[in-house]
Every structure is written in structure tokens, then in C-alpha cells.
Subunit: 460 residues, 2 copies
């Protein structure tokens, strides 16, 4: 937290009429929520390669053009995975009846059927150590996630678990859903097969079913049948939607605000990431509607394929490689639409002191700038350029209640909090595009274990 003094000395950085305009409009127009309703009700799920994803691209392009932004499509080849029918059951045994499993395939998983005994593992390392005792079995990854922090702790079971299990001869994987609430609700999410392991079917089961499986395993051997109809089709043509409010003085300098347009297929992706999409669209619309364009270019980027491949993030970084040195800041809104609680900045030394005065208009909404982790999966591929990263950080207490599940629907979004997030992003984005100075760039992050679309720092 910066000393309050910083706000006091330079509170006039954002002209009051600009602050009033951006925040007042976001909080009263209802545009962001109305757009989220249109997106989720009339377009629905938007998994890469699906008709919904394509419809969303066209919708976003036309909407932002109408808003007065210079909007265009940038082509992206995306994976095209389809779910198909899926079912599973715990088979009857000498000690218990059978039970239907509430399950759903992990994204990008291969389909197939398996009927086999189940062996429980509590980590990727543990399954690797199972050795021959896992041969021919279904590996059940169980864990103790109860809070949002558990996601980062256990997500490797989803991404790397199936290949780890396949290496020791397992025929399929069941994963306890990565979730903080459940009403028998399985939560999907991408898995990532390693090149050196057979590709085996993999599905998430609800936490209730995981508890049941764990208890039944205390009684004796348990056999499960599962059948997944999912499959990967040839890559599809899709696009990022990129829309500029061209800067009046330094148009080559870009402030990027992004979100991802694709969603999982089970719900309508209201929270992940429809909310982020309409927030950044709203910030773009409001900045574009001001009497004067900001000093730099404000660019709204709606990425395609964050969920199961990150093709959009990679394509953007590749297509704009030559301009990334002039990307002066980037923000991704992909953490839901909970009450905004802070603004986080990852910049070089002195960056926070430069930006903080500009954010004084957000103080009444309880938002202060803090140094911290910021970013977003789609911004990962531009990391070599060390772009300063900023995020409006919403309360994430209930984010994983619905994350990647059929319950990610419009009713979970509070229109007031959505509007506050949009307002905050608008002020942050305008400030970054207008402030005379450029934020110092942060040091490179230490290289991390390679994980496609790893959930850092915002969950995805």
C-alpha cells in the first residue's frame, strides 16, 4: 500500500470531469451488464472453434465498431475440441451398490471408454511413484482444495496428471473437481498431454463423488466405468478482436486492456470470461466517447482460445512482436466480477509512485494501488517484452464455486460490482494512456515450469 500522501499531493492528475464521466457512466448506463446478458443469452457458450465463438467474434467486432473504436480481426488458428456424450459410474461391488458419477471430460482430453479398478493418488508425484500398481487402473486424483488458493496448488493434477498416470500404465484419469463449492457439479478445465506418454481419457468428477469414491476405497476395491465422447477436430480458423482508440499524441504507444472471448462449453461463460470482456469493452467505449482522445493508443484486445490453448495470446504476441517495446502497460480482466478490492501493479521501481496519483478518483470506491502480482494468461506470451502489468483485482471468494462448470451463468454476476470493475478499468486505462510519463518496465520474471495457460496470477 502506498502512503495516502501520494493521493493528496497529486489528486488533480485526472481532471474531475473525466473521472466523473468515466465512473458516472459505467455506474449508471448499465451497458456492460446488458452486453453480458446479450453475449450469454443470445450467443451462449463460446469454446474455441464452436459456432458460439465465431458469433462472439462477430458480435464484439460490430459492437466495438459502433462504439467508435477502430476494430478489426486478427486471425488465430485454434484447437477445436468437442465434448460429445459422457457418462460414468461406480460399479456395484460385494460391499456397495453402484453409483452414477457426476463427471465431465477435461478439456482437450481424448475420448474413449474404460472399465477398471480405481487407485487414488494425492499428487502428480505420488502417481509417478505408484509404478506397476497403477497399471491397467483408473487413477483418481484427490486433493483438499477448499479455498481459491487451492487452485494454484492442485491444478497440476489436471494439467499434468493424465500424462503422469499414463506413464505408469493407467488407462484413464478421474480428477476431483477444482472447486470451492459443489452441488454435485463437475468442473472442467484444460489438460495437457505430454509428448512422451499415451493419451488416456480424463474427466473431472464432482467433489461429492470424489468423497464417495474415497470412502468406498476404504471398504475395498472399487471399479469404475467411464465413457467420454470428446474428441479433437482439425484446428479451426478464428480471431482475436482488436480495437483501438488511437492516441492523439503518441499513437504508437499502446495501453492494452484485454479479456478472453472464448469460454468453456458447460455454462455460458458469464464469469469466465464474459464479465472481463464486457468490462474492457465498456472501458474502451467510455474512453472513446470522451471529447478528447488520450495521449496514447488505448487498445482493447479480446483474445480467443485462452481456455484450451492460449492460441490468441500467442498470436497477438507474435503478430505485434515489433510493437511490444511500445506497449507501455497491459491489463487482463479474467478474474470474475466480484467486488473490486484493489489495483495491482507490476512495474519497475518507481512505477507505483507515478501511477498512484492518477487513481485518486477510485479512492472513494475503496480502491488503492498496491504493488503486487498482476497479469493474465493471455499476456504471458508477451512476457519477454517486460510490459508493465496492471490489474483491477476483484474479490475472488466465490470465483471457484462456479469456475469451468455448468453453473457459470449470468445470474452469478452482480450488475453493480460488474459496473464498478468496468469503471475502475476505465480510469486505470485512461490514466495509463494519458499520463505524461511511461511506467518503468518490471524485471523479467524467473522462468517457470512450462505449463500451457498456467493459472498465474489470475485464475483461468
Amino acid at each position: 500500500m502506498l502512503p495516502a500522501l501520494l493521493f493528496a499531493v497529486a489528486a488533480a492528475a485526472v481532471p474531475p470531469e473525466i473521472a466523473r464521466n468515466l465512473v458516472g457512466s459505467a455506474l449508471t448506463d448499465g451497458v456492460a451488464y446488458a452486453r453480458l446478458r446479450d453475449l450469454t443469452d443470445t450467443i451462449g457458450p463460446r469454446l474455441s472453434g464452436s459456432p458460439g465463438a465465431e458469433a462472439a467474434v462477430q458480435w464484439a467486432l460490430k459492437t466495438m465498431q459502433k462504439d467508435g473504436l477502430a476494430a478489426r480481426l486478427e486471425p488465430v488458428k485454434v484447437p477445436h475440441w468437442v465434448r460429445g456424450e459422457e457418462s460414468g459410474e461406480i460399479l456395484p461391488s460385494s460391499s456397495a451398490v453402484g453409483h452414477r458419477l457426476a463427471l465431465t471430460a477435461l478439456g482437450n482430453a481424448v475420448g474413449g471408454s474404460a472399465t477398471a479398478e480405481v487407485v487414488e493418488a494425492r499428487s502428480v508425484a505420488e502417481v509417478a511413484a505408484l509404478g506397476d500398481s497403477a497399471r491397467g487402473k483408473i487413477v483418481f486424483f484427490n486433493h483438499t482444495m477448499t479455498t481459491p488458493e487451492g487452485y494454484g496448488q492442485f491444478v497440476d493434477m489436471r494439467t499434468r496428471g493424465p500424462s503422469a498416470a499414463a506413464r505408469v500404465g493407467a488407462v484413464a484419469v478421474l480428477l476431483r473437481s477444482l472447486a470451492t463449492a459443489s452441488l454435485r457439479s463437475p468442473h472442467t478445465g484444460m489438460t495437457s498431454y505430454a509428448p512422451d506418454a499415451p493419451r488416456i481419457p480424463a474427466a473431472a468428477i464432482s467433489t461429492e463423488d470424489a468423497d464417495l469414491l474415497h470412502r468406498l476405497l476404504q471398504r475395498g476395491p472399487v471399479r469404475v466405468r467411464l465413457s467420454l465422447g470428446c474428441r479433437m477436430l482439425p484446428d479451426a480458423d478464428s480471431a482475436n478482436v482488436v480495437a483501438d482508440v488511437r492516441g492523439r499524441e503518441r499513437p504508437e504507444e499502446v495501453v492494452l486492456i484485454g479479456a478472453h472471448l472464448d469460454s468453456w462449453d458447460l455454462g455460458t461463460g458469464a464469469n469466465d470470461d464474459g464479465a472481463g470482456v464486457v468490462m474492457v469493452m465498456e472501458a474502451g467505449r467510455l474512453v472513446a466517447s470522451l471529447p478528447q482522445r488520450p495521449r496514447r493508443t488505448l487498445r482493447v484486445v479480446l483474445f480467443m482460445n485462452e481456455e484450451n490453448g492460449l492460441a490468441g495470446g500467442k498470436a497477438y504476441a507474435a503478430a505485434h512482436q515489433g510493437e511490444l517495446a511500445e506497449h507501455v502497460a497491459a491489463l487482463e480482466a479474467d478474474s470474475g466480477a466480484g467486488r473490486p478490492v484493489s489495483i495491482r501493479l507490476r512495474a519497475g521501481e518507481g512505477g507505483a509512485a507515478l501511477l498512484a496519483p492518477w487513481l485518486a478518483p477510485l479512492e472513494t470506491m475503496g480502491l488503492r494501488l498496491e504493488n503486487g502480482d498482476a497479469g493474465g494468461a493471455d499476456l504471458g506470451p508477451m512476457e519477454p517484452a517486460s510490459v508493465p502489468l496492471v490489474m483491477v483485482h476483484p474479490d475472488g471468494t466465490h470465483y471457484f464455486d462456479i469456475h469451468h462448470s455448468a453453473a457459470d451463468t449470468l445470474d452469478k454476476i452482480d450488475p453493480t460490482e460488474l459496473a464498478k470493475n468496468a469503471a475502475a478499468i476505465a480510469v486505470v486505462a485512461w490514466s495509463l494512456a494519458e499520463m505524461p510519463e511511461v511506467l518503468p518496465r518490471p524485471p523479467r520474471r524467473p522462468p517457470r515450469e512450462s505449463e500451457p495457460a498456467a493459472p498465474r496470477p489470475a485464475a483461468h
Copy 2:
């Protein structure tokens, strides 16, 4: 609430060693929870007529015999309804894509398929008034249930709605689930066709889907396709399980403690009503294990078919018609296993003053006797005998989060609260069986609109 004085003057009514024994055992043995785990994990769902229901009957019979109770089966003919495959979708329209519906057939509903335009109604009365505008349509019953109290307010849409819709020519019914929480979870429950109306398919949809349907109807006509594979088979042979701890002085006087052994088929019926079953079994076991039997007979009755017919309650009342005058009190545990908050008594004038001193050992657990509504669906058929009714009333805040849904599973039960409920029932039951006086009988209830298995006073 009675004055605390009553406890003080006669606090010795229950001998301390009995109170210690009953409460201490219930709170430390873990027997009730272990049995609930066995029932739900190894037997599973127990809808009337199903193999699970039959297995539960045999399990309960043998378990209570082992506990030292005189347990036997009393035959009951029950409806045998099976669910089959079910699916539904909102069809694409000119204004929106299609959406899969999270739905489940109402219990006892006829199967069938329908594809038709949807018309929304907010009450049974409203649909009756729709007249010809509902002809050939699917009636969508929407409502505003957000708290447990809403169940009693809106359940007639489920019980009577389908026939009301059929009378105005509707071809099917969709009901917004009667629920206080949802993660895209449909909640079933019995519907009841009237003899004068065609029987049309009827299903519950999740509250999320109801919200979506409502929103889409604001945009224009909406068509839905649904297909329900449910059907009613011929009545099946089943049984109530009746188990006595025979009274030492007045064995013909009966204190009945009951619960229902059947459950809906979607979950494992841990809350509804596995919890009640193991509570009253535990009270029976603990009373049977005391050095001396109580003065009167304590009878544990596990009713069959509470959920979709009440055949067990009716059969018990019919078979025991001649003894109901000597049923001195009855309790049904069918309100879940939330923290017990009070003991409710419905007896004649002066009844509470007689019973209250006996319940002093429960005061430390925060439980006081209050006059109030008490009963249970299975006790309804014995209402003409004006048996005094008592209940241990658990907190019901989250009861309808999982009620009649796939999420009614063991993990929702807090073992500590389950044990406290069992302890309280044991003390109440022993006291009623031991106290020298007999409670005065309450006045007859005014006759109420005939609704099979109406949800009064405990939800079911």
C-alpha cells in the same frame, strides 16, 4: 418459550445417569453417522419400489434387531415410478442460440416428449386464467422462492400445476426448482395428477435455466423441446419397518418416533431422510441399551414411500387404527440434520408444563421446549386420533439448497449436529415413554385442502 422456572423446579425428572448415558453415547459413539454412511454409500438412493428401497428395509430390520429392539416388517403397497433418460433444450430462435436445459422429471410424472412454445405463469391460479392462450404450449411455472419459507408458498405449482396446465390445454410443464441454492441443479419432488385432467409430462428446471427462460421470453417467443423417459410401473410390495422397545409397565401405550426410509433417486437421500432414519434408530438403540426399559413402549417406525405417495404413513395408521388412542405421542424426524434449535410440542392445554421439566438435560445444548407446530407427513394419516406431536426442530437454513436434488449426499451432513439431534430425540422419546402422566391430546386441526404428502409442518 416456557419460563425457565419450570426447568428449575423439576430438573430431576430425568435421572442424571440416564441423561448422561443417552446424550453422552449419542455424542461420542459415532453410530448414527456411521450408519448414515453405510446407508447412503452401500445402499444409495431408495425410491419406493427400487432395489435400494428393498435393501434399506432389510438393512434397517436387521440393524434394529441387532440393537435389541423387537423389529418386524409391516407390508405396504407402494407406487413404483422410474425416471429413465431425460433431456430438454431451449431451441434456437431468431434472437438467440439454443441452450441445453438442466432438468429432471417431477416424481410420479408421466413420460413423453413435447416441442412447443413456452408460456410463463406465476401461480396455479394464473395458469387457470390463461385459457386458450396456453393451448398446445408448455407452461413454465416461475416463482420467487429464495428462503425455506418459499417452499410452502410455491409447492402447489409442483403438486397441482401440471393438472392445472393440462386443463387449459398445455402439453407439458416446466417448473422453476423449489430451491434456495443452485449450481445448475434441478430439484425433483412429487406431482399429483387430478382425475379430471389429462396427464402431461412435467419437469423441474434449475433456477438458472428458469432465469434464462424468463429473460428470453422478454425477447420474443421461445420454443422448448423436452423428452422424459419416466414411467409408472405396477405397484410394488414394500414395507414399513416397525421396532419396539416394549414398555415395562404400560406396554400398550406407545411413543412413536419415526422417519422415512425412502428417498428420491437423484442423490443418496442423506439429508432427506437418511439423517432422520439414523437419528430415530439411534434413539431406539440407546433407549434399548439402558438397564431398565421405560414405562411405555418406545416404537421406531421407518416409513416407506413418504416422498411419492405416503403409502407407508397411510398403511401404518390403518393397521394400527385400534391402537392410535393409546399412542401417547409421536415424533417424525424429517427436517434434515441442521443444528437442533428447539423442541416443538403440539399437545393439549398444559402439555408443555408436564413435559418441559423432563427436557432440562437438553438445556445445555441450547434446546428449550416451545409450543408450536409439530408433526411430519407420515404422521398426517393418524391425525384423526389427535396424537400429541413433538419434534426436534433443526435449523433449516440450508435444507432446500440440496432438497430432492442430486446434491443430497453424505458430505452435506455435519456429524456433530446429527449426533446432537439424535441425542435430543433420545431424551425426548425416553421422557415421553417414562413420565408418569400422559400428555393431553391437542384439538383436531381444521381440515385443510387435500394434498397428498403436503409439506406441513416439516418440509418433505
